[in-house]
Each structure stands twice: as structure tokens, then as C-alpha cells.
Symmetry: C2
Subunit: 404 residues, 2 copies
DNA sequence: TGATTAAATCACTTCATTGGAATAAATAGG
DNA sequence: CCTATTTATTCCAATGAAGTGATTTAATCA
């Protein structure tokens, strides 16, 4: 265990990030307001803003008027300050999204995967990204990085399989490094749930939260944790495997070896099975629309699944609350919004937990704001988070790419 | 949400703590070794050590020889650098412990509580502390603070009750502030499980760990989390309520309103009930010896309790692992060591979880090292942790007492 | 004994934040 | 319309933290 000391340079970089994050969350705001928000001296803010403007990350938007005194110049994040790609695949579909640092989607491509082989998939990703840069007239050096999301856990960039294997052939493939080498851009690898949590934190329901748990409903169930303003990946990088929380000791057997795991009751695969889809191990194109349609039609098979999923998720929420006492629990994933809302309606009211006593204005369970593109959107936020978020410990890491 | 900027003074205080923590964990070591461990410049370390020696926190112990070059001067923590008190009560007994900053117990007093009224208890604590300072010839200004542990959760220093009330009459009493005013010393309040986790982290089984969960077996069951090298208290300060993890959906009803909570299967109270103690809601003097004796005698009632407790704890461990992927889970509390070991032996082997794939040299479940005085010992570590641990965020807090 | 090696310190430099004074640009009030 | 007031921002020099490079100290090695 090595503890690193701090120096002026660390403080400098940390402060740039603090200012950037403050602007991001509270824009539009003036230099004077940043001063008050950060506790730094006005002169310091002036210097930092000058630098950030120079770098094209922050821009002046307007002069305020109406109040006394010299009118404040409002600042916000310059969307053209940088771009990131978000890539997700694993549902038989490859989704590539180009966003700017303000979180706006600039381009989007949805393709059928040509092959299941790792090399072929990487080629397809690379070609799509190059075409998109060309089409949007974005220079490669203005791209902060590429976020890659796969529905699995990993440790040191290698897949870890618990239970059934979602992606055979990928287990020992050095995915991140291979893509990074091919693209010449920094690549960040993350599991779907954690990426979604980061996305909600940057642009969605978790914007102002520091501590929350994200329950991700995809083909399986995943969990992403955000603790003390940072994603929590656990001692070995595999935290949030809430799909295997045991909901019913004598319940359905699970490939993981236990019985009654959450994932055996609430997942998109199971919803599809309930609707009569036999090959529902992976979620394929159009499946989500089918689920939305079934809800609209009041299909009793879907409603039965909803009830069962809600009952098991209710327990999972209480367990998470009792263990972590988060500010809130966010429920999200690939489900269409109406289905998600129907699910939440059925989960409530929640039973007692430590969260009962908290301020009444924070609901215990809320819906994620990103839509069904969640995996790719979450992926796209990874480089932004990595380059913007102030956490001194980040600055000691060797491989952090500094954008400021 | 307010984000604070850093300045040189923060870096300074942070680095003092980094050096102190490095010495604490790796002593004896030389200035040159600290340089290599922290990444700071030799001159910086020289300056910092000079300061810390001046303040009496670090001392030179010996000159090394045998190697070439100028012989290194080994340093370690000066035990006389500071003292802390640890106070626990709530088992009908008041326990006060005096330790130095190196973690050595200097004095210890175990008293029957004269009364259950808050004011009377505080008077008794205050008198005991004064007498102990007198007896050990320690000046009050050399005391870093007083740690106070009670077997309950709180939010903003006020008790939060979930289920049965352990300490009637205390609910809205401003415990921490009242004791602090009475003693003229900083008082830190913590729940039993988190304090025990901090204690294990500083001096026990968690010394070299950054991420672990502590399962505390007392009258009830509590949990203390240590994540990224810091105690995790949750969004509202009540994390770790693992006594109410649901182990069996259709199990025994719990006063919290749910069924099958862990606390209904594994706790000292239940062990005592199993041994025929009718009034076992609170654990009283001598009860723990009785349990140890029952194990020695092979009392079948205790063995049955052990089996049941082990089965439920086994599930809890797996849930914690799947949710947080900690480096390890530490089982501790007030149980006598042989009983604790018998319990762990019955919990193993653990079923599958994400922790299966981790390095084989780290066991998934280990026993805490502090003995039955755990609550008071954990309490005593609170001021040490608060004054020594390097975490930049701590330095932004207004009420942190700086010892360096 | 002199060369070599490593630890620790001395004198000086670097640089991000800071503090105080100065400047700019609006409103409020007479 | 003019002046006082208020607030935002910037100029300039000061502060104080870590860092650098040369130097001193004290051991082993040959």
C-alpha cells in the first residue's frame, strides 16, 4: 500500500477540475459565483477561467444585468471543447454514439454485428468511428476518448464470468488495449451498470447526488454504485453484482450455484421468456419495442412478470438501503420508459429500512433519465468523467489523461 | 453540493498526514525510505520529519548498519505523542480505556453504570477520565480526544431507532455535544460496528486493507464498511445496517416490520436466549464468559445456536461480497475468541460469489483481532484516525482538529 | 587509505494561490 | 444629470509549499 504525497501541481490540476465541475453543474454562473462556491480566491478563479477559456473548455455566454455593480459575465461549458464516443454491443447490435462534453448526442449509428469474433467487432467499431469523425468534421485530436461498455464484470481488463457465459470467445481477449491500439485514442472499459450510473451522475437523475445505487435492468441485472461522488468498483473491481443477491432462499436455482437470485426474477430476458420467446438469453433488436407494446396492450403475461420482478426488486432495494444508506436508488437500464415506470409503481410502497428517516423530499426510488440507449450513452460519459471529475486520488494515477 | 478548491496549506497538512501514516504502517523506516514510499522529494521529507519530531509525534529509534553509505536513521511513531480515551457503555457496564497514539492500552476501568439517565452517565464518564489522567500523569492538553461508542445508529448526532429501542430516554439527547462541553476535549461519536472497523484498520486485521466489511456481533448485528481507505457512513450516516438484511423471506418476524432478518438468527442476545436466559435483550456483565464456558462444555444449546448463526451469516457474507466485492470480510464484535473461531469454522466453506476469482492468498472471511473490549478499543481509535489519516477531503471539513 | 555508495541537509528556485489595491460598469438616490 | 454605492474583475507583489542541485556526513569495499 503506497501513499502518495501532494504537491502544487496536484493542487493546480485538482482546482481546474473543481472549477470545471462547478461550471458543469451550475452553469450559467459568473466568476464571482464560482469564487463563493469553491472557496478559492477571486484572482485564482480569474486565472483558471482564463486558462479554461483558452483551452476551449469554458465559454462566456452573456452579461447579466438588473442588479447593481459591475455586471457578471455568465460562463458555461463549451460543448465544442471536446468529443467522446460511446460504444456498446452484446445484444447482437453494435451501437456507436458521438457526444460532446456537454452531453449532447452529435451522431449515432446502430449496426448489426457482422461477426461475433473479437477482431471483427473491433474492426467494425473502428470503421464506424472513423466514418463518424469524417461526417461530423471532428478532428481526431479533439476526441477525449472512447468508452466501451459490455454487459459483464472484469478484473484488470479481463472478463470474469459468474454463472452463464454471455460472450464466449472473449474471456481472455485484451479488449481495451486492442481497441486503443487500433484507434489511437484512449479507451475506457466499463460494465454496463457502472457506466450507466456514471452517465446518470453526469447528466441525469444523479446530477446532484454523491451517494446512490443504480440498479441496471438488462439481459441480466447489474448494479452500479456511486459513493462519495465516485464510482465504487470494490476491492477488485467487481462490485455491484446485485443480480446474485438472494431474494428467496428456497427459490429458483441459479447457474451461479445458489438459489433464488434476483436475476432469476427480474430481467429483460425473463420478460421475453414470459412473452413466449424461447431464445431469450440475449436481447435482440426489436425485443424492447415488443415489451413496450405488451404493456400498452395490457398483456397479462407481461403484467405477471412485472409483479414478480417488482416483488424481488423491492427486496433488493431494501437490502441496498440497509447496507449502504444511499441518498436514493435509481432504477434504470434498457427498459422503455413506460415499462420502467410501471415497474417502479409496482415496487412501491417500499417496506421499512434505515432510509425511512431521511428527509422527505428525497424519494427512495427514482427512474433513470437516460433512455434505452443507456449503455452507449453511459459509455460516452466515461472519458468525460475521467477527464473532468475532481478527486485528488485520480491525479496520482499514472494513466490519467489530462485534458486541462 | 459544494466543491472546495485546494491550496498549498491543504497540501501541507495532507502531506504531514501521508508521512505520519506511512511511518505508522511501515515503521521502523528511514527518511530515504519515506521519500521512496511517498514520491515526495528528500528535502520535503526532511522538513516534515523535523516538524513531526518537534511536535513529538515521531522519534528516531536507531541507526541502521551493515549496508554501504551513510547509515539510515530509523523512525517510528512516538507513543507519548498523544493519548486518546475510548468509552463504551450500553451493556449495563461502562468501560473506559486510555491508549496512546501507537495503540497501546495504558489504563482501563470497568464500572457498573450507576444510573441509566444520560446526565448521570456523563458525570460518571467525566469523573473516570479525570481520575485516569491523574493516575497516569497525563496532561489534558496531550489528549487528542475521546471516542464514544454506542450500539445504535445516528444521523447528525441524534439516535435513529429501527425496530426495538435499545436505550430509552436517549433518543433526543445531544450526547456528543454534552460530553464535549463537560470534558473540554473533542468527542467523537460512532456506532459500535464502524468504530470496530476503524480499530481493525488502524491496529488489527485490516491494517493493510483499503476495502473491507466488518460484521459486528453484539447484542444485535451491525456492519461497518471501510471503502477506499475510509470508513463509509452512507449518504445519511447510517450505512451498515446489515442486521436487517433479509436472510429468509418467510422467516421469523422482526420488530423492523420485515421477516427473516439476519439479527433474528445471529446475535449474542439470541445465544443467551438459547442458553436459557430470559432477559437477554441487553448483554450484561459475565454473559460473555458464560457463552465461552458453554462452548468449552460442548453445550448442545450453544452449538445449535452456532449452526443457525453460521448459516445466516454465510448468506450475509455472500451478499456483502456480491454487492461490494471487498478485499475481505472481517467478523468480530464482543464474542470471545474461541466462540468467534468456532463460528467462522461453521460458516465455511462459503458458497460462490464474485469473490471466488480473487487472489488465493486473501481469505474471504477472517476473524477480528481486537478482543471483547472491542467497543472501547474501537472508540479510542476514533480520535487517532481523525487526526492522522490522510484524505484530502477531511482537510476541507471545518471541525477537524489538527494535531500536526 | 582512498574510492564508492547512500543518507541527510543547506541554499536557492519555482510556482499556484493569495491579499490588497485598482479598475470597470452597472444601479440607486438626490 | 451627477454622484455615491455596489459588485465583478484584474493588476501586481507577497507568501509559502515542494522541489533542485550541490554539499556534507558516515558508513563499506578494495
Amino acid at each position: 500500500m503506497k501513499l502518495f504525497g501532494a504537491n502544487m501541481d496536484h493542487a493546480r490540476r485538482f482546482n481546474r477540475r473543481v472549477v470545471l465541475e462547478t461550471v458543469r453543474l451550475q452553469a450559467p454562473l459568473s466568476r464571482a459565483e464560482i469564487t463563493r462556491a469553491t472557496g478559492l480566491a477571486p484572482q485564482t478563479i480569474s486565472n483558471i477561467i482564463a486558462e479554461l477559456s483558452e483551452a476551449g473548455l469554458v465559454r462566456s455566454v452573456s452579461r447579466r444585468s438588473g442588479a447593481r455593480g459591475q455586471p457578471a459575465v455568465d460562463l458555461d461549458i463549451n460543448p465544442d471543447g471536446g468529443f467522446t464516443f460511446g460504444v456498446s454491443f452484446g445484444h447482437g447490435v453494435l451501437l456507436v454514439i458521438l457526444t460532446d462534453v456537454a452531453g449532447t448526442v452529435r451522431d449515432r449509428a446502430e449496426l448489426d454485428l457482422a461477426s461475433d469474433a473479437p477482431e471483427a467487432v473491433l474492426d467494425q467499431i473502428s470503421a464506424t468511428i472513423s466514418a463518424m469523425l469524417e461526417r461530423q468534421q471532428v478532428a481526431r485530436q479533439r476526441v477525449w476518448g472512447v468508452g466501451l461498455v459490455i454487459p459483464a464484470l472484469f478484473q484488470d481488463d479481463r472478463l470474469v464470468v459468474l454463472g452463464e457465459i454471455a460472450l464466449p470467445g472473449w474471456k481472455d481477449f485484451p479488449l481495451r488495449q486492442a481497441l486503443q491500439d487500433k484507434l489511437g485514442l484512449p479507451v475506457l472499459l466499463e460494465n454496463d451498470a457502472t457506466a450507466a450510473a456514471i452517465g446518470e451522475r453526469l447528466y441525469g437523475a444523479g446530477r446532484t447526488l454523491t451517494d446512490f445505487a443504480y440498479i441496471y435492468i438488462g439481459a441480466g441485472i447489474g448494479g452500479g454504485l456511486f459513493l462519495r461522488g465516485q464510482p465504487y468498483r470494490g476491492g477488485y473491481g467487481k462490485s455491484g453484482e446485485i443480480g446474485h443477491l438472494v431474494i428467496d432462499t428456497n427459490g429458483r436455482p441459479c447457474p451461479c450455484g445458489n438459489r433464488g437470485c434476483l436475476e432469476r426474477y427480474a430481467s429483460v430476458s425473463l420478460a421475453l421468456k414470459a412473452l413466449g420467446d424461447i431464445q431469450a438469453a440475449t436481447v435482440r433488436h426489436g425485443d424492447l419495442d415488443r415489451i413496450a407494446k405488451a404493456l400498452e396492450d395490457g398483456d397479462p403475461r407481461l403484467l405477471a412478470w412485472l409483479d414478480e420482478a417488482a416483488a424481488s426488486l423491492r427486496q433488493a432495494v431494501v437490502m441496498i438501503e440497509n447496507m449502504l444508506d444511499p441518498q436514493t436508488v435509481i432504477l434504470g437500464g434498457v427498459l422503455p420508459r413506460p415499462v420502467l415506470e410501471a415497474l417502479i409503481a409496482r415496487i412501491e410502497p417500499l417496506p421499512r429500512s434505515v432510509s425511512l428517516n431521511k428527509a422527505a423530499d428525497t424519494p427512495r426510488l427514482i427512474a433513470a433519465e437516460m433512455g434505452p440507449d443507456t449503455p452507449a450513452l453511459g459509455a460516452a460519459t466515461l472519458p468525460v468523467f475521467d477527464g473532468m471529475t475532481p478527486e485528488l486520488s485520480l491525479l496520482f494515477k499514472q494513466d490519467v489523461v489530462e485534458r486541462i
